[in-house]
């Protein structure tokens, strides 16, 4: 059974612009379901979904779980700690054992880049990548696209700058691929030590100064600065990072046009973003979270479907 998206959602890099647009368009009516008194439709009744999280996550896991429950799927959460994974079981064995219990989908977060694809090639269930290492986080990329489209109506020609730790960020990669496919212009801004070597080959512009990025962009996607990066020697100190690259109220105030602020969370207030900006009028950070549930419902719904070529026959 293959859907309009194929068997799995592993990343935005393999998707076409048309497939991305289909997901965004499908997410629109799902927004309304979360506003109903009874936030539930029976579309995935009878489907069993395992949320397999090898890395800690609150937002993404809860968002997937709400999306699954609002579509009436049955869900099970497996965290790496406290499961057979901590006893040394391999990823494939864990998944095959789950599959032997007749599941339909696996949503997986893993610290290794490529883990989702590795799994998808070895099990029959649909696999949704909920973040694999520093590779991709497709549903986050999609919800960012949806939030930008909500505001600007059109992604084509939009100028978006991704700021901060691009090197370690799967969100950055999904954003770059997704935005470029939809015709947006993408730039990155951050200390050279946190930008991947050869980033220009992605076809993105590089800003060394956040002031220049703000002057250019219509939207900033501010990435989380993982605090352990400091001890690893990528940046001298958090204070210095904030002074040079922080998205502060003073800097945003000097923007020549309206500047939308996105952040995938969790935020380090006072490091990569100031509280006044995060809570300010240009911030759509909480809209991103709301859209996340709708996007994940759309992906689950589209992947769960059987053979679209028979859709005609179902009319009536």
């Amino acid at each position: 059974m293959t859907s309009a998206l194929g068997k799995d959602l592993l990343g935005l890099e393999p998707l076409s612009a048309e497939q991305i647009r289909l997901i965004l368009d499908t997410a629109e009516p799902f927004k309304e379901i979360s506003e109903r008194a009874i936030k539930k439709v029976p579309a995935l009744r009878g489907s069993t979904i395992v949320n397999l999280f090898f890395e800690p996550s609150t937002r993404t896991r809860v968002s997937f779980e709400f999306a699954e429950k609002r579509l009436s799927a049955d869900t099970v959460n497996v965290a790496a700690s406290g499961s057979s994974v901590s006893k040394g079981e391999t990823l494939v064995d864990t998944a095959r054992n789950l599959e032997a219990m007749r599941i339909d989908m696996v949503v997986m977060r893993h610290s290794a880049s490529g883990a989702a694809q590795f799994l998808a090639e070895r099990i029959e269930s649909n696999v949704i990548n909920a973040g694999d290492g520093t590779h991709e986080h497709p549903t986050q990329g999609l919800l960012d696209l949806l939030t930008l489209r909500d505001h600007f109506k059109e992604l084509k020609g939009l100028r978006v700058c991704i700021c901060g730790d691009v090197l370690h960020s799967r969100v950055a990669r999904s954003n770059i691929w997704g935005l470029q496919k939809m015709g947006a212009e993408v730039a990155v801004c951050g200390p050279r030590s946190l930008l991947p070597h050869g980033i220009e080959q992605f076809g993105v512009q590089v800003f060394d100064r956040i002031e220049a990025a703000i002057e250019w962009a219509q939207a900033l996607n501010v990435l989380r600065l993982q605090l352990e990066r400091m001890t690893a020697g990528y940046i001298p100190s958090l204070r210095e990072y904030n002074r040079v690259f922080g998205v502060t109220a003073e800097r945003v105030a000097r923007a020549p046009r309206e500047l939308l602020i996105l952040h995938p969370g969790p935020m380090n207030r006072g490091v990569e973003i100031d509280s006044t900006v995060a809570d300010g009028p240009h911030s759509v950070i909480l809209n991103q979270v709301t859209n996340g549930v709708a996007i994940r419902m759309a992906v689950l719904y589209l992947l769960a479907g059987g053979r679209p070529e028979l859709a005609e026959a179902a009319k009536g």
């Binding site: 009516p29 799902f30 309304e32 539930k40 439709v41 029976p42 719904y301 679209p308 009536g316």
Partner: protein, 179 residues
Amino acid sequence: MPQNSITLLDARAVDRTLKRMAGEIVEHNGGTHGLVLVGIQRRGVQLADRLSTLIGEREGETPPRGALDITLYRDDLQTIGPRPVVGKTELPLDIDGAQVVIIDDVLYTGRTVRAALDELADFGRPARIALAVLVDRGGRELPIHADIVGKRVDLPKDQRVDVLVHALDGKDAVILVTP
């Protein structure tokens, strides 16, 4: 294979039929009190708009309208697959205690209406739910019947009824298509 099309109702006949249905809806309900017209996406929504306006002209009171997209309540997702784009569901105010009339263009297997009843139940508890369709083409697979019918025809499986509405198709017509 070329398709054979026969016009069952032309624009004037559709207009006459809708006017009669508007009258029957009011009669069936014993007035316009508590009346809510809920159209099923997509052409049912256009028909509900028209019927509501017609009732308003006759009775001096325009009943509120709603739209229902039943895509997510269908029972064939696993076998048939998702519809390309799911439409919007918008219901007016509170439907608890209302006299709801579901409006659709064509009644065939009854599965769409079954899904619509399930979806309405998730929004509230109407005092009564009735069904009005422009065309009943027979072929039911569920014990469902329409209270108000514009035109009744009995068609074999291989034939199809297309309802055209001005807002979406540029003209009003009901067409019988034989592939």
